[in-house]
């Protein structure tokens, strides 16, 4: 287990309780080696309960299992779609700006520039 996951495991509630039980047994003069079999079974049952709760957060796939891969695929698809949406919006804005600049350029090219010169310089 790498350091990050080890620290996460150590900070989990389950492990804190196991640690408390170990310290109590050591204080009572009991074996210093760690939790007993019954403690382990209790911990496993608690973990199984937590996993059941986590599984209810995921829809079922065609095999009736929690669709973990589908959940990830859905997130990937949504992130890609959101990026596409931003791309479309920026593209349409660019096209609108280019259109406006093109219209202004055409106006100046077809004589509006002459009119402005006449007004400004009186020529």
């Amino acid at each position: 287990m790498d350091q990050q996951h080890q620290s996460e495991f150590q900070s989990s509630q389950f492990n804190r309780r196991a640690e408390d039980q170990y310290q109590r047994r050591a204080a009572d003069g009991g074996p210093p080696h760690g939790p007993s079999n019954s403690d382990l079974m209790e911990a496993i049952k608690e973990l199984q309960g937590m996993m059941k709760v986590v599984h209810t957060a995921f829809p079922r796939n065609d095999l009736g299992e929690p669709d973990f891969a589908g959940h990830r695929a859905d997130h990937v698809a949504r992130i890609a779609a959101a990026r596409n949406v931003e791309g479309y919006k920026v593209k349409m804005t660019e096209r609108a700006l280019v259109g406006i600049v093109a219209v202004l350029f055409t106006l100046f090219a077809t004589g509006a520039g002459e009119h402005v010169k006449r007004v400004v310089f009186g020529g």
Partner: protein, 166 residues
């Protein structure tokens, strides 16, 4: 550019392009990501003031600017129509019911109303009065309020259709 290395020139071009992209992104967010509540409130206030001024005693439609509008309806009728439109618009804002069918239909009506007001004034007199610039801006705003949901719907349909998944 005289005396500068190619690298410096390219860096400058890239810098300008990056700033341009930032401007485009900023404008894109203003157009697409802003809510249109302020726009609707402005349209409502403008319609209210138009209505009040048309109902005001005196013949506003005697002026040549309103020649086309006068042929369609009398001045007071236009006034009441605009006041009704203003009341409807502000009600939509207060109820925050922007996406219901009635609000969408009203947005189409509102865009038509403002476009007609602008076109009729431009057709009545030449050159067009300078103040009609404000009305043109409001007409564009009303058209955007109507049109943007359709364009966004199309964008989302294309984006979700082309998004790949594993």
């Amino acid at each position: 550019m005289y005396g500068k290395t190619t690298g410096e020139v390219l860096n400058r071009i890239v810098g300008i392009m990056t700033k341009t992209q930032k401007l485009v992104h900023g404008l894109s967010r203003a157009l697409w990501d802003s809510d249109l509540v302020g726009t609707r409130v402005s349209l409502s206030i403008a319609e209210f003031l138009w209505g009040v001024m048309l109902i005001w005693p005196g013949d506003t439609f005697d002026r040549p600017t309103y020649h086309v509008m006068a042929k369609v309806m009398p001045e007071d009728a236009w006034g009441f129509l605009l006041l009704l439109s203003a009341a409807t618009q502000i009600t939509i804002v207060m109820l925050e019911s922007y996406t219901v069918m009635f609000a969408r239909l009203f947005a189409a009506w509102n865009a038509t109303l403002w476009t007609f007001l602008c076109v009729s004034m431009v057709m009545s007199v030449y050159p067009p009065p300078a103040a009609v610039g404000g009305e043109f801006a409001l007409a564009l705003a009303a058209i955007w309020v109507w049109l943007r949901p359709f364009v966004l719907h199309d964008i989302y349909r294309k984006a979700y259709g082309s998004a790949t998944s594993i």
